[in-house]
């Protein structure tokens, strides 16, 4: 028997469902102003920050999201111009460099303060740099100190007396740093967070100086010297920093707060930006770039980035031992086609490892797209028309972008050299493991500069360089980078040595340069003083918010 229900009962039930669902839908719904317009009113910058910061300790942190927060909370002796990246006075109001370029004398501001009001002086740097060089701390950026006299020796335990390291407080407001060799990029390093000072009393309050993972960087604990101070840190939700009234230049800081959102997912972050929940997003999904471009959306900012996308070649692979084979591979990648048809976000084809224009350095490269000459090289190496060339594998970490590029290159090599290439993708940590164990044949790689100098790119390929990972070793190259370049009398001479070294690298081709990165940012038009630069480093103390239609409000 069919259960029979009267029509009125059914409509009663439907009514109940309607009431329940609509109350759920509307219950918490209210008129809400989006973050951007509210932030513009209150001086709050809403910043899409990628991932949850792993640490805010400048001597432990390594990632980009951490970097963006730490530069708001802390500051080095020297700042960078937000456009040109030229050194600008930071905690040091001025400095002198000795004639031999080895001794830097910094004069600190007498109004520099920690965010708890404590005076901030030259001794803070001596202590902080001593801390950063304690091996137990596990500072991955310790090498940033190695241009300082005896810093490397101290770090590696060859000397145990920190007095011998080239950093001295001559008095409360004068810091003297002695370098091993003249290092033209030394001032830049001072703006890298790994050389920032930390507040000794706070660090020691929560553990010993060289202890990792103490709670000194948490909300309520951390003391910094930057334009902002930490107010709130809710895991996976937000990090909020507010103006630091003790900052030496506090009067010129125009933002009241910055809220950093750890979004993890680029698609979510872009959607948040579009809905007016973020002023800034630094991770634009690749397939969204074309849409922004075709709409001529002023929010999309594409700038050259100090980074190179390249393929490593494991030179111990039998068929890749001959440099003619490696050159042939490099010469049959049509980089114009890759950047224009596949990447499509302003990337620049790369024919050398160092991005051109790095500190006035323009690498000379004879690498070009030349299938004819490449076929000849391959034939000379014993593989005429690719005959007998063993199948070779390209390894990349799992990502749609890397896959597309690898597929294109696979086709180019088949078309121009008639060789068979297979593709292998591995999850990030597995891929890292394979590459560092040299368990690969050709491997996708990327390198982002820590400072603007050719040295940062070329010293990767020293014989014992931890990031070399190709098995390529040339003692003459090592001598150029390690000995001749640091001892060069003038910058021109130094750049000439780099040119020579890079030519050697390109002639042997243990690495195939592919393209120069761009930074793709979404920036709301109300954000002023956001200048794209090749380090993609914002200057939060200068940014302010001003809606373009402000006059109408």
């Amino acid at each position: 028997m069919k259960p029979q229900v009267s029509v009125s009962t059914a409509s009663q039930l439907s009514a109940i469902i309607l009431i329940l669902t609509s109350s759920l839908l509307l219950g918490s719904c209210g008129s809400s102003e989006n973050n951007v317009s509210k932030g513009n009113r209150t001086g709050t910058l809403h910043w899409g920050n990628g991932t949850e910061p792993q640490s805010l300790d400048p001597h432990i942190a390594t990632g980009v999201p951490e970097h963006k927060i730490i530069i708001a909370l802390m500051e080095g002796l020297v700042l960078k111009d937000r456009k040109t990246l030229e050194p600008r006075p930071g905690v040091a109001k001025s400095w002198e460099i000795s004639d031999d370029g080895r001794v830097y004398t910094f004069h600190l501001r007498d109004n520099a303060r920690w965010s708890n009001g404590d005076p901030h002086n030259a001794h803070d740097y001596v202590w902080s740099w001593w801390r950063a060089l304690q091996p137990a701390l596990g500072n991955l950026y310790a090498y940033m100190y190695f241009s300082i006299e005896n810093a490397k020796e101290y770090y590696e335990g060859e000397i145990s007396d920190f007095e011998q390291v080239g950093v001295k407080a001559l008095d409360d407001l004068t810091l003297q740093v002695t370098l091993k060799n003249p290092t033209p990029y030394f001032l830049q390093l001072l703006d890298h967070y790994s050389l920032y000072p930390v507040h000794q009393a706070t660090v020691e309050k929560f553990g010993s100086a060289d202890q990792r993972g103490t709670r000194w960087t948490y909300e309520g604990n951390i003391v910094g010297n930057g334009a902002f101070q930490l107010r709130d840190w809710k895991i996976n939700r937000r990090v909020v920093v507010e103006r630091n009234p003790y900052y030496w230049n506090a009067d010129n800081v125009r933002l009241n707060e910055i809220v950093y959102y750890p979004t993890e997912n680029a698609i979510t972050e872009e959607r948040m930006f579009r809905a007016g929940q973020l002023h800034y997003s630094g991770t634009v999904p690749a397939d969204k770039i074309a849409t922004y471009q075709s709409n001529n959306d002023p929010a999309l900012r594409i700038d050259p980035y100090l980074g190179i996308y390249f393929y490593r070649i494991n030179v111990e692979t039998p068929q890749l031992q001959d440099k003619r084979v490696r050159r042939a591979l490099g010469m049959t990648i049509d980089r114009d086609q890759l950047t224009q048809r596949i990447l499509k976000a302003g990337q620049i084809p790369a024919y050398a490892i160092t991005p051109p224009g790095t500190m006035g350095y323009y690498p000379e490269s004879d690498l070009r797209f030349d299938p004819e000459a490449a076929r000849q090289l391959l034939a000379d190496a014993g593989y005429p028309n690719g005959e007998g060339f063993p199948s070779t594998e390209i390894l990349y970490n799992t990502s749609e972008g890397h896959r597309k590029l690898a597929v294109a290159i696979q086709q180019m090599w088949k078309k121009h050299l008639n060789i068979d290439v297979t593709l292998l993708n591995q999850e990030w940590k597995v891929y890292l493991n394979s590459v560092s164990m040299k368990d690969y044949q050709i491997g996708r790689a990327g390198w982002i500069g820590d400072y603007v100098d050719p040295n940062n790119f070329l010293d990767m390929f020293l014989c014992n360089g931890g990031n070399n990972r190709t098995g390529w070793c040339n003692p003459v190259y090592d001598e150029l980078i390690l000995k001749h370049a640091p001892e060069a009398k003038t910058q021109e001479e130094r750049l000439e040595i780099f040119t020579q070294a890079e030519k050697m690298l390109l002639a042997d081709m243990p690495v195939i340069p592919i393209y120069i990165y761009t930074s793709n940012n979404l920036v709301d038009p109300s954000v002023k003083n956001f200048s794209g630069n090749i380090l993609n480093q914002p200057s939060f103390s200068e940014i302010y918010l001003e809606p373009d239609n402000g006059g109408q409000q």
Binding site: N35, G138, R215, R271
Partner: protein, 311 residues
């Protein structure tokens, strides 16, 4: 009933031990360690880090000391989030995940039971076909598709609701709850329809009708209790599923919950975090299954007699 619960909890101990051991050895055998990075890590740094987290000890020793810590409720420090313990991270993520699961469950129950009961009242009519087809669609629609569609329509196009966040902007919990709840609503709709159909054909309902009781009284007072037993049995596993399976929704809506930690931990080789979350979820699943079994016993006297007779 208490004895039943006690027995079930005893059975849980070997289950948990197997889960912990399997996970422990699996994560340690995965290639790539917690401290490998894009930039080469100097060996002295690796040594310092491994010493700090006891990774320099033999594996069996690490295993034994981990078991000891877990017994005391200490899930260890996270390798990735410097200075945070796994307990602390779970405590930070649980409220959002639990709240989301609760709202999603609410959505699932309201929509699912209403649709199921409506359909059961007039089987094989439009009143049955419509909600059941919708339910089929709900089961088939993955949350990574439904979420962005809802966001596009209600968040970006109509601008009625926030596109992301959790407790920051009024109304930001609605879309995630609906996205996560819909799939479960669909299951519940089918389960409650089946349950109700069975009950509505029973003699005692016919008796109630013969006595002239009104339909709402019959449905709500007499039929629902029996008709919803299949739904109740589904609630425990469903709630555990909601807690553990909210990763996609948490990512789409930028919700500071546990799901994101779990997946990130695996990518980061954050051994203690992976283990801690696994232990935590395994315990939850065991507990919720037990709870829903006990609820089913309470609702169904027949089963109660069986369980009582066996134990």
């Amino acid at each position: 009933m208490l004895r039943f619960a006690f027995n079930r909890l005893l059975q849980a101990i070997p289950v948990l031990l197997i889960v912990i051991s399997a996970t422990f050895f699996l994560v340690h055998s995965a290639p790539g360690g917690p401290f490998s990075a894009d930039k080469a890590v100097p060996p002295e740094v690796i040594r310092a880090l491994e010493a700090q987290y006891n990774l320099d000890q033999p594996l069996w020793q690490q295993y034994v000391s981990y078991l000891g810590d877990v017994l005391q409720g200490d899930l260890g420090p996270s390798f990735k989030y410097s200075g945070r313990t796994v307990n602390e991270l779970i405590a930070a993520g649980l409220p959002a995940t639990a709240e989301l699961a609760m709202y999603a469950m609410l959505v699932a129950l309201i929509i699912g039971i209403s649709a199921g009961v409506l359909a059961a009242m007039r089987p094989n009519t439009m009143q049955d076909y419509l909600p059941m087809s919708a339910a089929m669609l709900g089961i088939c629609m993955p949350s990574f598709l439904l979420g962005p569609i809802l966001v596009l329509v209600f968040g970006i196009h109509l601008e009625w609701l926030p596109v992301s966040g959790w407790g920051d902007i009024p109304g930001d919990k609605i879309l995630p709850a609906i996205t996560l709840g819909t799939g479960y609503a669909a299951y519940i709709a089918r389960l409650s329809r089946g349950g109700m159909l069975e009950v509505l054909s029973q003699d005692y309902i016919r008796t109630a009708r013969a006595k002239g009781l009104s339909e709402p009284l019959i449905i709500f007072k007499h039929a629902l209790r029996g008709g919803l037993i299949p739904v109740v049995a589904f609630l425990g596993p469903a709630f555990a599923g909601l807690l553990g399976g909210s990763f996609v929704v948490e990512t789409i809506f930028q919700i500071p919950g546990l799901g994101r930690f779990y997946v990130q931990a695996a990518f980061n080789r954050d051994y203690t975090m992976i283990l801690g979350m696994t232990v935590f979820f395994a315990t939850l699943i065991i507990l919720f299954n037990l709870l829903s079994d006990m609820l089913a016993l309470w609702l169904n006297p027949k089963l109660r007699q069986q369980a009582g007779g066996e134990s």
